[in-house]
């Protein structure tokens, strides 16, 4: 690649820089010795977890558990040599060989399972959000802190190598001072799962039950709130929101379209919007700083520099590509080495899913207890609280203050 390729820039446009972390941070995860893992909750997220565990050398899935027999049966097809359970207490009683338990049940069922697993002496990974009430989320965090086991909350941004790299830019002069943030989750789907009868419908479609559901803000947005809170440092001061059922007129009460504004003490605002009526743009976040902006889309990330922002040394190694109406620069850490190997393009996009890295981080801490988890119980509580409070703001229409957790 010619040097001049790097310095050409379309007039009037921002330079987009694809964030790509060090490839050693993105490569396959493996454990030096096998760890026996059980999964509780074999719904859609549980099945995704099984698929990712199968990719981690040394992660030995030995059992899974779900109250629905059909899900247990289907789960057993997904990994060889595992045992099925319908009650998590039976699982904990019988499988004394477990190192760790991964909890991926409906949110409101997390607390009992997490505390039972911790009391049984197992390390625990709990899917996000931690719980559907502040009391339950605090109880989980307290139980995790009391135990001498590893506990990790499943807010995946903190394990994501793209997000980790982006955060270094967001907190330095490259972006400097986040003044405005945006996050969206757009999907065309009913959020309703097949169920054979009314009893199964109640348990399968808990997301549409206002008694236990945190809605789009809590169940999905909390992941994105955590990213922004982690990048910006400190919690927002207050949240406003609104929502309605605009598309899926099937008698549901949980809004299918919502917006929320999370306002930090310096008045910087995260605007969140989610809908189940339209898939345009999917799920992503855009963080605007004084010197540049970052767009994050979970497996990819880009940075857009203002024209007068300081030039960064790594820019000379970056690949450029057209990004919408702007000419973008693909950033690749270790670009010098990769360029010498002619492999700059080989690294665009994460080679594994964000969930894979989160599970890999958890099992690494299980193996090496002195290695801290990237998302602690306290981190998980703070992120869960934002989801709960944002949902409260949306449902009540009232401004909700955010206390310290």
């Amino acid at each position: 690649m010619q040097r001049r390729t790097f310095v050409v820039q379309t007039a009037g446009s921002l330079a987009g820089i694809a964030l790509l972390p060090d490839r050693s941070a993105t490569g396959p995860r493996w454990l030096p010795e096998p760890k026996a893992v059980a999964l509780v909750g074999v719904g859609r997220q549980g099945r995704a977890i099984v698929a990712e565990l199968l990719k981690i050398d040394g992660a030995k899935l030995v059992a899974l558990c779900d109250i629905h027999p059909a899900r247990v049966k289907a789960g057993l097809e997904r990994a060889a040599g595992i045992e099925g359970f319908q009650d998590h207490r039976s699982l904990l009683d019988k499988r004394r060989d477990l190192d760790a338990v991964i909890v991926a049940t409906p949110t409101h069922l997390h607390p009992g399972i997490v505390t039972d697993a911790l009391q049984a002496g197992r390390h625990v990974y709990c899917e996000a959000p931690l719980a559907h009430t502040l009391e339950d989320a605090k109880a989980i965090a307290a139980a995790a802190q009391r135990s001498n086991r590893i506990f990790m909350a499943g807010f995946q941004g903190r394990s994501n190598p793209v997000y980790q790299l982006a955060r270094t830019f967001a907190r330095t002069d490259a972006v400097r001072s986040l003044v405005s943030m945006y996050a969206q989750y757009h999907r065309e789907a009913s959020w309703r799962f097949p169920a054979a009868n009314a009893v199964e419908d109640k348990t399968a479609n808990w997301r549409l039950d206002p008694e236990v559901s945190l809605g789009l803000a809590g169940e999905v947005g909390a992941q994105q709130f955590d990213v922004v809170q982690w990048f910006k440092g400190g919690r927002p001061a207050r949240i406003t929101g609104r929502g309605a059922v605009l598309f899926h007129q099937d008698g549901r009460k949980v809004p299918d379209t919502v917006q929320a504004d999370l306002v930090w003490p310096d008045h910087a605002t995260l605007h969140f919007e989610a809908t189940l009526a339209n898939s345009f743009g999917g799920q992503h976040e855009v963080l605007h700083g004084v010197n540049g902006a970052i767009k994050l889309a979970w497996t990819h990330g880009w940075m857009f520099k203002e024209a007068d922002a300081p030039t960064l040394g790594w820019e000379v190694y970056a690949l450029r590509q057209q990004f919408h109406s702007d000419e973008g620069i693909i950033l690749i850490a270790e670009a010098t080495k990769l360029a010498a190997q002619g492999q700059l393009k080989a690294g665009v996009g994460l080679p594994y899913s964000p969930l894979y890295y989160a599970l890999g981080d958890f099992l690494k801490s299980v193996t090496f207890p002195n290695v801290p988890v990237p998302c602690t119980a306290a981190d998980g509580l703070r992120a869960t609280a934002l989801g709960i409070l944002a949902n409260r703001a949306i449902v009540t229409g009232e401004t909700v203050e955010v206390p310290e957790f």
Partner: protein, 304 residues
């Protein structure tokens, strides 16, 4: 292929594997099956994420990275896909070959991951399946797979199975109109009537809990030196089939993924081998010259 459907229906679609997948459930009560239909669409999207060679985080690329070093544990469905792919590779004497990725890369149909191997030699024999541990390993470094000739059918089979499990008795699913599954039959019909081509006299097949796949040398193509080459690879020649005198093959059977693989194999062979399943149906033809049913072994391709 065009499904015949009338009256009230639930229709969903998604983009996956470089094409558009569509699902139709007929009947006044079809809306009640929306959750099941969405789950079926998710099966297709999941299959795309697993098997696409174009995304670095696909399971297929994970396999490429590690399977030569250690066997990779897989779910039962993926293992069955590999079993079927290798079964058709053997039965077709290599006319369908899941290891043609380097040829596709060399001809620009595929993301390049490394240097081309030059003259193509099948490495399908180096795919090591262990049913006892349900693992897949590679017997040699650099082996790369392309499931373009079978993944669509696999996704449709999984989606149809999910619909069945959730009580859907009649549905039609297709991927890019080249692979389709007819589940049950629309009310008052014997099955789903599917035309094998746009022309007036194209054969019509009736699908009832069965699948059809059509392969042709038209579609994605590359031009080199004034000659047009298909994206379909002839493994024995180690090069794409040429587009001139475009050929096509259609297969009807009980499995969309096997139909997919066999239609590719028949297109490459230009005939139906003795190993073709006895109770399946096949057609061979030229784009310009119509179709010929090919129930017997080694039926010649009719001239255009």
């Amino acid at each position: 292929m065009t499904p015949a459907a009338a009256g009230a229906e639930l229709r969903l679609a998604t983009y996956a594997m470089g094409t558009r997948f569509e699902l139709v459930i007929p009947g006044d009560e079809s809306e009640q099956f929306r959750p099941a239909a969405e789950a079926a669409m998710e099966e297709i999207e999941t299959a795309h994420r697993l098997f696409t060679p174009f995304e670095p985080d696909s399971w297929l690329n994970h396999l490429h990275r590690v399977a030569a070093d250690r066997p990779v544990a897989v779910d039962a469905d993926t293992f069955a896909l590999f079993v079927d792919a290798l079964a058709v590779w053997r039965a077709s004497e290599g006319a369908f070959d899941p290891t043609v990725a380097p040829v596709l890369e060399a001809w620009g149909f595929h993301p390049a991951h490394g240097p081309s191997r030059g003259r193509f030699t099948s490495w399908a024999g180096a795919i090591l399946l262990d049913p006892a541990t349900r693992t897949i390993g590679f017997g040699r470094e650099g082996l790369r797979l392309d499931f373009g000739g079978i993944a669509k059918g696999h996704a449709l089979d999984l989606a149809a199975r999910g619909l069945r499990e959730h009580g859907v008795s009649a549905a039609f699913l297709h991927g890019g109109t080249s692979s389709a599954v007819g589940l049950g039959a629309p009310a008052g019909e014997a099955g789903w009537r599917v035309s094998l081509g746009p022309e007036h006299q194209a054969p019509v097949v009736v699908l009832h809990d069965s699948a059809v796949a059509v392969s042709g040398t038209l579609g994605r193509s590359a031009e080199l030196g004034g000659r047009v080459f298909s994206h379909l690879i002839d493994p024995q020649a180690g090069r794409p089939l040429e587009g001139r005198g475009a050929r096509r093959a259609a297969v009807v059977g009980c499995s969309a993924r096997l139909a997919d693989a066999w239609s590719t194999a028949l297109l490459v062979l230009g005939a139906v081998p003795p190993s073709f399943p006895d109770d399946w149906l096949a057609w061979l033809g030229h784009e310009a010259g119509g179709w010929a049913a090919a129930p017997g072994p080694w039926s010649p391709v009719p001239d255009p």
